[in-house]
Amino acid sequence: MISFYYILSFILVAVSVYHFIAAESPFKRLIAVNILGSAVFLFFLTTSKNTPSQNPDPVPHALVLTGIVVAVSATAVGIALILSLSKREKDES
């Protein structure tokens, strides 16, 4: 069962890498990056579950939490930049 989650995370990483490189707009790139992030987090959390004891390992939980906040912050900046860019292009036209 654990292997299923690991394979899922690898597939998600591969798919998001493909779309990051072959994206048709910065917006699509941003979505690909977010999905890549979720894939990496899935890997981390699967590792957290992959322990012999009953309780999952809380360290990856904290790491992923930090990772989500960082990813959201960066996405917010990215979206602000795309908005700014489109506003400038609208002003020019």
């Binding site: 998001s16 493909y18 072959a22 959390l45 992959n50 939980h61 917010a76």
Partner: protein, 289 residues
Amino acid sequence: MLLDLMLGSLLLLSALLSLHSRNSLKSGIFFVVFGLLSGLLWVRLEAPDVAMVEIVLGSAVTSLLIFKLIATARIKAVKVHRIRKFWAGVISLAFLVYMIPYLLTLRKEQRIEVLVFEKLSMSGVESPVTAVLLNFRGYDTLLEVGVITLAVFGIIALNKGDKVYVWRDPLVQSLSRWILPMTVFFSFYVTYLGTFSVGGAFQGGSLLAGGLIFLSLTGQDVHIGESIKKSLLLLSLLVFCGVGLMYAVTGYGFLVYPLPLSTISIILIELSICLSTALLLYTAYRGKV
């Protein structure tokens, strides 16, 4: 078992649909679905704290920002050369092939969790995740709070306040006003829960941010003075640094909480994170203070 397979395949499907759609609205919607399914999958992996953060912050708040983008701007799509797609395919396939043998090496093993549960009683809180986040690895959280503060100030520095999509419906406007006090109460409750159960500062903060963004979506604004807003934005970073420095200067060490004071230090920091994160995300959505 069946549930896992279903969740997993739906997750993959929504990711593929989100990435593949030409229409940005469809991408956005499938991205929300992806985020929610991720959260559910993580609950299944016994990570409820993280699932909460993902659903509220990673899925909901990010989607609010994405939909604001879709509604306000026209997203231009460029034609992608076939050769680029070819190389992208080669690289991702190579990566997959490279990583599959790795699965054979993974085993169930004990990592750091033993240490966490051993020292949990000395951390000042009962929830292991909060202990790791705000005590054992509190320095990471300090930098993380710095990141979110910086990001929002970057957004403020960037924007001159452009015309944003607003939903001016009087019914929704009053609804957003009525919901806000309940959201405030609930978010503080979630923050308080984090010390001994599932919950925490980031979860509470993003919940409150959701309520505030709802308010902003309907064209209204929180009636606090601008300088108070600005100081609330900086509050968590200031408190966290301040607490760390205070203990450094008094001889304990940077971010070393003395045992009797650890609970109160953590609660103080958590409250400031809750307030600040809420206002930071709200400001990120609005684009100006």
